[in-house]
């Protein structure tokens, strides 16, 4: 009986100690926030996180500027939406047409070009639709004509927007096809679906290279078309429209990204592991 109660008390004490620790740390953090507003919310695309680029850039920026970056990696559509609501301070995205809407509405300011890589079309090594080496539009037309399996992001991301624009340019409604699948997820999970279904998909080169080790049955089929340029811009959320935004931190982040040294870090990223750059510097 005594032993039993002892165990219960011990367990309770453990709970209290552990919860005590966690409360302390959160309290401390809150104090910091009130005093100096060091937190900076970055809304960005999944490709910058899934490729590993942010793991390199974020600590560099934090060390240099003293800000604490909270990176929310979502599709470009959602990232832009967060900017529009003032829920993020700075955006790093890749859907130029949609970005201009935010600039025009005054939700975002200080938009700067940062880097580019390119979209590629990948598919099964056997290439049933026969698209290898074609230009983008022809390739999409062939995929549609052959009713080949195509895996779409379907998540309103930059890549998804790009894909829809290509379908539109050749006047094909992809949703009408039986073999058009939408994952509604990031690029990484979508590549996993593509390899299981042995389909075609449009991907950014960085994520493809970073995950190629899991994609043995897929191969790069179409690349190098001017239409396939994938340009990333950074922009600040307008503090005049959204008063809770950390505009100084956002400004510092924009300047950090277009700084010559950072640009070189971006270009060097991936060279060692993949033998080529995943992103190329591209400031104005």
């Amino acid at each position: 009986m005594k032993k039993k109660r002892f165990f219960l008390v011990l367990l309770l004490a453990l709970f209290v100690v552990i919860s005590g620790c966690s409360n302390q740390t959160t309290d401390k953090k809150k104090e910091d926030k009130v005093v100096q507003n060091k937190d900076l919310i970055l809304a960005t695309t999944t490709s910058t996180q899934d490729s590993g680029l942010l793991d390199i850039l974020q600590p560099l920026f934090e060390e240099e500027s003293g800000y604490k970056v909270k990176t929310i990696a979502v599709g470009t559509g959602q990232a832009l939406e967060m900017g529009k609501k003032g829920e993020a301070d700075v955006l790093l995205v890749h859907a130029p047409a949609a970005e201009m809407e935010l600039m025009d509405s005054g939700d975002a300011i200080n938009r700067k070009r940062v880097m580019y890589n390119d979209f590629i079309i990948i598919g099964p090594s056997s290439d049933p639709a026969g698209i290898k080496g074609l230009d983008v539009k022809q390739a999409f037309e062939k995929i549609a004509a052959a009713n080949a399996t195509f895996i779409s992001r379907g998540d309103d991301s930059g890549t998804h927007k790009k894909e829809l624009a290509i379908w539109k340019s050749i006047n094909v409604d992809p949703k009408a096809a039986d073999n058009y699948l939408e994952t509604g997820q990031g690029m990484g999970p979508t590549l996993n679906v593509t390899v299981e279904k042995l389909g075609y998909t449009l991907t950014d080169r960085a994520t493809f290279l970073a995950q190629e080790k899991n994609l043995k049955d897929l191969t790069l089929l179409v690349e190098g078309d001017e239409d396939l340029l994938n340009i990333y811009h950074v922009m600040q959320v307008n503090p005049e429209k959204h008063d809770k935004v950390n505009s100084e931190g956002a400004k510092a982040f924009v300047e950090f990204l277009i700084d010559e040294e950072t640009q070189q870090v971006i270009e060097d990223f991936g060279k060692e592991e993949f033998g080529q750059s995943l992103f190329f510097k591209y400031t104005e």
Partner: protein, 233 residues
């Protein structure tokens, strides 16, 4: 199969090499989950006792909501908490979004109904004759409560174990309200999702082994307590 073995080896490597990041993620997972279950237990058991013993108008409706709450999808909880905690939301001034506190809130929201619901059903099953007997023997209210708690110990610990299971399994809400921020709100489940989307299946597997180990140890202790108290009666 190779992947499973690879994941297991990777898990050992990460633990043995003292990987700082893994340690942080694991510790945060433990801290957050324990805080959430502690709050759910301290609030949920008294509420469950009251709901089980008292009879008042509207009690059935309350029970209906508690029972719905037991099946509350974590993403729904996450969505609601996100909307409330947004800078533009009603609780935006707290700046809790993307902090461990937000994850704890979400976990409490999904585990509290389980603790309340299961505790109240345990108390509803207490034999009326037993209550009368206690009264006849002149037990005070405090003594009655103590004896009843002793009587339902097994069921109450089951409620805590079920709530804890829900908390440890939780990923959708933690992702939404925590944001999976490195060093801040990245817990085991959200890092597993992230590693899968990065295509690092071996790391994801390794993390899953660590998560399962934690779940095993805690559940083991609780089950041990539950069974000990049960058998000695």
């Amino acid at each position: 199969m190779d992947l499973l073995i690879g994941g297991f080896i990777k898990a050992w490597q990460m633990i043995i090499s003292g990987d700082q990041e893994i340690f942080k993620i694991t510790w945060l997972t433990i801290k957050v989950s324990m805080t959430a279950i502690l709050v759910s237990t301290l609030v949920g058991i008294p509420l469950g006792v009251l709901l089980g013993l008292l009879r008042f108008p509207g009690r059935k409706i309350v029970l209906v909501f508690i029972n719905i709450g037991m099946g509350l999808p974590p993403v729904v909880a996450g969505l609601w908490i996100t909307i409330f905690l947004w800078r533009s939301g009603p609780l935006g001034w707290l700046s809790w979004l993307y902090t461990p506190t937000a994850i704890i809130l979400a976990q409490i929201l999904v585990s509290l109904p389980i603790v309340v619901g299961l505790t109240s059903s345990a108390f509803q099953q207490i034999d009326g004759k037993f209550l009368m007997q206690l009264k006849a023997l002149g037990a005070t209210k405090g003594q009655t409560l103590f004896l009843l708690l002793k009587e339902t110990k097994v069921a109450i610990l089951a409620a805590v174990i079920a709530g804890l299971g829900r908390i440890l399994a939780e990923v959708g809400a933690a992702m939404m309200v925590g944001g999976n921020l490195r060093d801040e709100t990245r817990i085991l489940t959200t890092s597993i999702v992230m590693e899968v989307s990065k295509g690092n299946f071996d790391v994801a597997l390794a993390l899953s082994f660590i998560l399962m180990t934690i779940a095993f140890i805690i559940t083991f202790i609780l089950t041990f307590l539950q069974q000990r108290s049960g058998s000695s009666r």
